[in-house]
């Protein structure tokens, strides 16, 4: 029981940090559950997708895969491409997630945009167990998403309100997180460069194919400028 206090301190630090994600995820999970419901997939299916795949924006894309001809290969490849940014999150977290034992697998399984943003920009307080802090952030975010989906699927049976535009919450979330990163002056060159790289990739390669070229461009710019940017 002597570990209880650092662990409780970890939860106490993690929960407030995840409140924005709770709002975003409950709202988006709700939208996802409702959208799935409108396509004929009830709460069991939408919750199963959220719990097993935990794919965030990819799950919205996957709705089109669930309403077209059965093509699991395309679903797999599309998931890899759309979620390729996770690879960069992993690279950024190699150091923080070092030496955490068995829970490392849970942290990696539940790694998403929002958890990455939180654990990469916030440090747990010294009295908190670092490992448990990461675990609390990861599991809370995961739980919000799954709970939001379930609620959306269940409410989708009762409510028939116009959800058009609700998924803008995802965009708003990233705009806000971008602004949060922007607050730190040393992050600005990398942030501005990535906006430019992504915009160029979108213009040249089009909406369907922008992700991979944008990531390659960002990688090239960061590798090229890392000596100056990390000074």
């Amino acid at each position: 029981m002597k570990n209880l206090t650092p662990r409780r301190a970890a939860l106490r630090a993690a929960f407030p940090a995840t409140i924005p994600v709770m709002t975003g995820f409950l709202c988006l999970g709700l939208a996802y559950g409702v959208l799935m419901q409108s396509k004929g997939y009830g709460p069991l299916w939408s919750t199963l997708m959220s719990a097993v795949a935990f794919g965030g924006s990819m799950q919205f894309v996957a709705i089109t895969l669930l309403t077209a001809a059965f093509d699991p290969i395309q679903a797999f490849l599309l998931s890899v491409m759309i979620n390729a940014r996770h690879m960069f999150y992993g690279l950024a977290l190699l150091d923080k997630y070092r030496g955490l034992g068995k829970i490392r697998a849970v942290l990696i399984y539940t790694l998403c945009d929002e958890t990455f943003s939180l654990v990469s920009s916030l440090e747990p307080p010294p009295e908190a167990d670092r490992k448990w802090y990461y675990l609390c952030v990861s599991l809370l975010d995961y739980a919000y998403w799954v709970a939001g989906t379930a609620a959306g699927g269940l409410l989708g049976n009762l409510l028939t309100f116009n959800t058009k535009g609700m998924d803008f919450a995802l965009t708003a979330l990233f705009v806000v997180l971008f602004l949060e990163q922007w607050k730190r002056r040393e992050n600005r060159p990398a942030g501005a460069a990535s906006l430019a790289c992504a915009a160029a990739s979108l213009t040249v390669c089009g909406a369907e194919n922008m992700v991979i070229p944008a990531m390659v461009l960002v990688l090239a710019v960061l590798l090229g400028g890392r000596k100056r940017l990390c000074a």
Partner: protein
């Protein structure tokens, strides 16, 4: 069109497998037992900010700039998020306000 239950399960597992591959790959490539190269450590420092920029543009990718309303709902709603966040600095308020404005714009104004 709706898939059969087995097909639906197949899509769920395919999406899960693809997504998990992207999560595990860096940790498999650079195992704990070895110190990652300096370039990888530097990337780890720079990537958090860079990825936020990429995610913002990614969310805008399906906007039709050349056809009416020329991305007006997106531009207005993102501006609202930025202004709200500059003004109050409240993450929840910025997200909720921007999303509410966007829903209003696409449902009632630019229909």
């Amino acid at each position: 069109m709706r898939l059969t239950p087995m097909e639906t399960l197949g899509i769920i597992l395919a999406v899960a497998a693809g997504t998990q591959l992207t999560r595990w790959l860096p940790f498999l490539l650079f195992p704990e037992s070895r110190e990652p190269p300096r370039a990888v450590t530097d990337l780890g420092r720079l990537l958090p900010a860079a990825m936020m920029g990429l995610l913002v543009v990614y969310c805008m990718k399906d906007v039709a700039w050349t056809a009416p309303p020329h991305g007006a709902p997106e531009v207005l709603a993102v501006s609202a998020v930025v202004l709200l966040h500059r003004w109050r600095g409240n993450v929840l308020l910025s997200i909720a306000g921007g999303t509410a404005l966007y829903m209003l714009l696409v449902q009632a104004v630019f229909v």
